[in-house]
Every structure is written in structure tokens, then in C-alpha cells.
């Protein structure tokens, strides 16, 4: 059991880090095209957003399939999303702007596209900080409330991508659609209907308690298990 758990995490680590290694390899061997900085920003942003979506998919998938063990990977996925977002932001500060603060300040204050991206990263910051066992315990019920900021961060991140694109909005629209589905599933009425459908299809139902699932699960994760 514990071995399986570890392998699952190892897989998450590999999936989340492999694109970074790949990016580093391509950067060092000059395979990022004529504008490598743009490519770095695009890829780091893409992975930040993608992993944010994956981490948001954990709870709905768990509810739909009853595969509760997935919750163990959610924090890791969220932290990797934050790591990619931070790399993206640092890429902008260092590679793209080379600390040209007046321009950076102007960008953030005057350009909605950059402002929403920055806001998304800023919202993720407290979530990453309070992702430790200590903070989960300390914040108690408020932890779940605080961590709902992730929805806003994901929405702003998707908008950031959408505004960045000049004409072909397909890809950002895919992100927005995925996010919309992930949010919709969380609406109580939709959840109720999903439960009905699950029964009809004969799928295993999850034991969903009255409280918001996230906090309980995190507690279970942090509790020293037998």
C-alpha cells in the first residue's frame, strides 16, 4: 500500500518535472527556435495552467469514480502548478524584461493581460504557503475557504492566456472550457444530478459527507496513518 502510494507520487514528480528537463535540454541545445524567451514563457505558462486544471480535476474525478486515493496527489499537483507559474513569472521578470522595473510596473498596472496573470500568481502564493500540515491544522475550517481562491486563480490564468493570443483562441478556449466544466461539476445541483447518473450507470458511489471534501481529505492525509 505504502509502496504504491510512493510510486504514484514518483509518477507525479516525473510527469511534472519532465517537461522542465525537456525545456532545459532544448534551451541548452538551442532548439527553442528563433525567439527562445517567448518559447520559455509560453511553455512555463502552459504547464502552470495545465497542472492547475489537473489539480482541480482531482476532486470531481474522485467523486465520479470513487477513486479516493487520488486526493493524495492533489497538493503535489497544486504545488507543481505553482512552481511552473513561478518559473513563468520569473521568466518574465528576468529573461523577458531583465529587471526593467519601470516597464514591469507599467505592464502590471496598465495592461490587463499582464495584470490578470500577475494576480493569478499572487493568488496562488498564499495557497502554496499554507499547503503544509501545520497551516492546514492552524487554519482549520478557514483553510478550505482560503483555498477556494484557486478557482479564481485558474480563471484569471485562463483569461491571461486568452488575452495574450492574437487571433487563434482555440487553445485558451480549451482551457476555459475545461475550467468551466470543472467548476460546473462543483455546483451542488449538478453534483446531485451526477450522483443520480452514477447510480443509473451502476458506478461506485463515493462516501460524500456533509462537509466540504477537501479539508477532511487533507486532514486524513496529514494524520499519521496506521
Amino acid at each position: 500500500m505504502s509502496l504504491r502510494l510512493r510510486w504514484g507520487k514518483v509518477l507525479v514528480w516525473i510527469v511534472c518535472l519532465l517537461p522542465a528537463l525537456w525545456l532545459g535540454y532544448e534551451a541548452l541545445t538551442g532548439q527553442l527556435g528563433a525567439n527562445p524567451i517567448e518559447e520559455v514563457l509560453h511553455r512555463t505558462g502552459w504547464w502552470a495552467l495545465a497542472l492547475l486544471m489537473v489539480s482541480l480535476a482531482v476532486t470531481p474525478i474522485r467523486r465520479l469514480t470513487g477513486w479516493n486515493r487520488l486526493i493524495r496527489y492533489r497538493r503535489l499537483l497544486g504545488l507543481f502548478a505553482f512552481a511552473w507559474a513561478t518559473t513563468h513569472f520569473l521568466g518574465y521578470l528576468v529573461l523577458d524584461q531583465w529587471f526593467a522595473w519601470p516597464f514591469i510596473v507599467e505592464d502590471i498596472t496598465e495592461r490587463p493581460f499582464i495584470l490578470v496573470g500577475f494576480a493569478a500568481w499572487l493568488l496562488l502564493l498564499p495557497l502554496a504557503v499554507t499547503s503544509t500540515r501545520g497551516w492546514i491544522r492552524r487554519l482549520g475550517k478557514r483553510w478550505g475557504v482560503l483555498h477556494r481562491l484557486v478557482y479564481l486563480a485558474a480563471a484569471l490564468g485562463s483569461l491571461h492566456f486568452f488575452w495574450k493570443v492574437k487571433a487563434d483562441t482555440r487553445e485558451p478556449l480549451v482551457f476555459i472550457a475545461v475550467l468551466a466544466v470543472l467548476l460546473l461539476i462543483r455546483v451542488p445541483r449538478v453534483r446531485e444530478r451526477a450522483r443520480v447518473w452514477r447510480k443509473r450507470l451502476g458506478l461506485r458511489a463515493t462516501q460524500s459527507g456533509g462537509t466540504y471534501g477537501a479539508r477532511r481529505d487533507e486532514d486524513r492525509l496529514s494524520a499519521p496513518g496506521p
Binding site: A34, D96, W98, A100, F103, R111, F113, K164
Partner: protein
């Protein structure tokens, strides 16, 4: 196959004073450098620098565009006939590499990724090619590309290319002056704009199957812009014929405007009395205007235009008014509010 150019005497109407023509060292670099280049390739860039004599550059440069050239298909790099590393812009900027210029392209007809055109543009057939001339002109008609080009002097010109996305390159184009073509077509007194249209053909340009833009791509210039000596029709780059992804076989180059004005793979010139709608201005009127002059003072609604990334450089560099060609073109817009007419 040989293509023999018929050089004819220009009619009086076709000869125009070229104040800026004499300044051609602005296009190609300092005369000392051009002289070095000229020693390597007699008459190529040097042809532009030797004042006057259009025939010099015309005759000397013609081999590069001749269809019999061995690198006609799939050109794989700069022509070997000169040392391109010595060629610089008039601001002493080095050229961007062949790779930069031919693998980093905005040409949505072949996909929206920067590397898509280089991967996908092999479906374009730049020969045979015909060019339609329509509207307010004395000599409308459909021209075979070779006939369309043959009366004109071919030159190499080094221009900065500034994309509206805030990146830039320095490109050694080969081609002909747009003014020469316009004059040869003899616009009527009604003609105030020249509209240029890209090929519309989903087979050759698969990107047109998706309506991300209102195909075909259309751009236009005011007549005084079109006959400005800097306005250029490129048929080649780095001494080779244009690779498909760069807009083969014929594209516009207007160096003082954002790159999207420089419409590629042109099949039609239309002379018009009224300002025509142009593709990006239709697609996003708040963000892209008809004039699209490079202007560090007027930001794109979503990003700053004050600086740009020159491909191959790390730090951003300041963007120059009219992309560094203000001395030549500023007067075209005298009295105009360039914030309103962005």
C-alpha cells in the same frame, strides 16, 4: 531555362525624381562597408550605393531572381556569392540569420505557430504565378509574374522588420521598388490607395480552412506611401528566391510599418479611390489600424510598443519612431494625429 529580361527605355511618365534614391546608402549601410561588399559581389548592394544608374543594380542583381537559378526550389540558406556576415543595416546592425528569418514567421495561412509556416508552406506553388492589376489604372490585366517583374531593377535592401508583437529582425531583402510598379501601371487620377491581396486557395494554404481571419489577407497603402522609395516588393531574401514561408513569390515590405502590413504571396493589386478595409483592422479594429506605423509612443492595447526584442538579442532594445526611418517617411504624416491614426 533562361529568362531573358527585356530592358526597355522608361517612358517619361515613369521617370520620377527620387530624392531619397540618392540616400540609398541608408538602405544598405555605409559606403565603406558597401564598397567592401561590392568588391565581393560587383554591383549587388554596391549597385544600390553607386548613385544613380539603376541599370547597375538591375543587371548585376538579375541572376538571383532568374528562374533558371539552381536554388529555385527549396533554397537552403544564404546565397554563396557574397559574405553576408559583412552586410549591415545603415544603423550598423548585423543581419538576422537565415534560420531566424525563415523559421520564425507569422503567416497564418500556414498555421498560427511561428514555426508552422516553415513546416507547412511546402504546399504553396510559387510558380507559375500570375498577378492581377485592377481598378483605377491605365494598364489593368493579369500579368505572368516574370512579365510583371521583368521591367524593373532588382536590388538588395537591408531593412529592419518590426512586428506588432514587439519583436524585430534585420532582413536582407531582394526585390523591386513598389513605386516603379505603381508608376508602370499608371494609376488614374482617382487612385488614392493601393490594395494588395494574398492568394486565396485552401489547397495551397491549408490554414485558410479555419476562419481565424477573414481570408484572403488584404493590406493596402495610401498612394503616397506606395510610391515612397522605401516601399518595396520582395522576391527574395539573402540573395535567394523567397522561401514559401516568407511570402513567395512576391510580398510587400514596408519597413516603417508593423510587419502585418507587409502582405505576402500577392496575387492582386487593386487601385482604389477609397480606403479599403484591411485584414487586421477588420479583425480587431481597436488594436490594429490602417496606418500601423511603428510608433514607440502608441502602445498596443495589450502590450507596450516602447521596446522590442531583436531576435538573437537578450535585452530588449528601444523601438525607434517609424522603425528608424522617420527622416524618410515622417513627412508623409505631417499634421496627422498618429495616436488616432494608429
Amino acid at each position: 531555362m533562361f529568362w531573358i529580361r527585356t530592358i526597355r527605355e522608361p517612358k517619361d511618365a515613369e521617370i520620377t525624381p527620387y530624392e531619397t534614391w540618392l540616400n540609398r546608402r541608408h538602405f544598405v549601410g555605409t559606403s565603406a562597408k558597401a564598397a567592401v561588399a561590392g568588391a565581393l559581389v560587383p554591383g549587388l548592394l554596391a549597385g544600390c550605393d553607386v548613385d544613380g544608374e539603376r541599370g547597375v543594380s538591375k543587371a548585376a542583381a538579375s541572376p538571383g531572381i532568374a528562374p533558371g537559378d539552381t536554388d529555385q526550389e527549396a533554397p537552403g540558406g544564404p546565397s554563396q556569392d557574397r559574405d553576408w556576415s559583412k552586410v549591415r543595416s545603415e544603423l550598423d546592425e548585423p543581419l538576422n540569420s537565415w534560420e531566424d528569418i525563415t523559421t520564425y514567421n507569422n503567416f497564418y495561412e500556414f498555421g498560427v505557430g511561428k514555426d508552422d509556416p516553415a513546416k507547412n508552406a511546402h504546399t504553396l506553388r510559387p510558380r507559375p504565378w500570375s498577378v492581377a492589376v485592377e481598378g483605377e489604372v491605365e494598364s489593368p490585366g493579369v500579368y505572368d509574374l516574370e512579365d510583371f517583374l521583368s521591367p524593373h531593377a532588382v536590388e538588395d535592401r537591408v531593412y529592419r522588420l518590426r512586428c506588432v508583437e514587439a519583436w524585430s529582425m534585420v532582413v536582407p531583402w531582394r526585390g523591386i521598388a513598389l513605386a516603379d510598379v505603381v508608376r508602370r501601371m499608371q494609376p488614374t487620377s482617382k487612385a488614392r490607395f493601393v490594395e494588395m491581396t494574398t492568394l486565396l486557395d485552401e489547397e495551397q494554404m491549408p490554414g485558410q480552412r479555419r476562419r481565424i481571419l477573414d481570408w484572403p489577407y488584404v493590406e493596402a497603402l495610401r498612394m503616397d506611401e506606395a510610391i515612397h522609395p522605401l516601399a518595396f516588393l520582395a522576391t527574395g531574401v539573402y540573395g535567394r528566391d523567397l522561401p514559401n514561408q516568407n511570402g513567395a513569390p512576391l510580398r510587400l515590405v514596408v519597413p516603417w510599418k508593423y510587419g502585418f502590413k507587409s502582405v505576402k504571396s500577392i496575387v492582386r493589386f487593386r487601385f482604389l479611390e477609397d480606403m479599403p478595409p484591411t485584414t487586421w483592422a477588420v479583425s480587431a479594429p481597436r488594436e490594429y489600424g490602417f496606418y500601423a506605423n511603428v510608433n514607440p509612443e502608441v502602445d498596443h492595447p495589450r502590450w507596450s510598443q516602447a521596446r522590442e526584442r531583436r531576435l538573437g538579442e537578450f535585452r530588449r532594445r528601444p523601438t525607434l519612431p517609424f522603425n528608424g526611418y522617420a527622416d524618410e517617411v515622417e513627412s508623409l504624416y505631417a499634421g496627422m494625429d498618429l495616436r488616432k491614426n494608429f
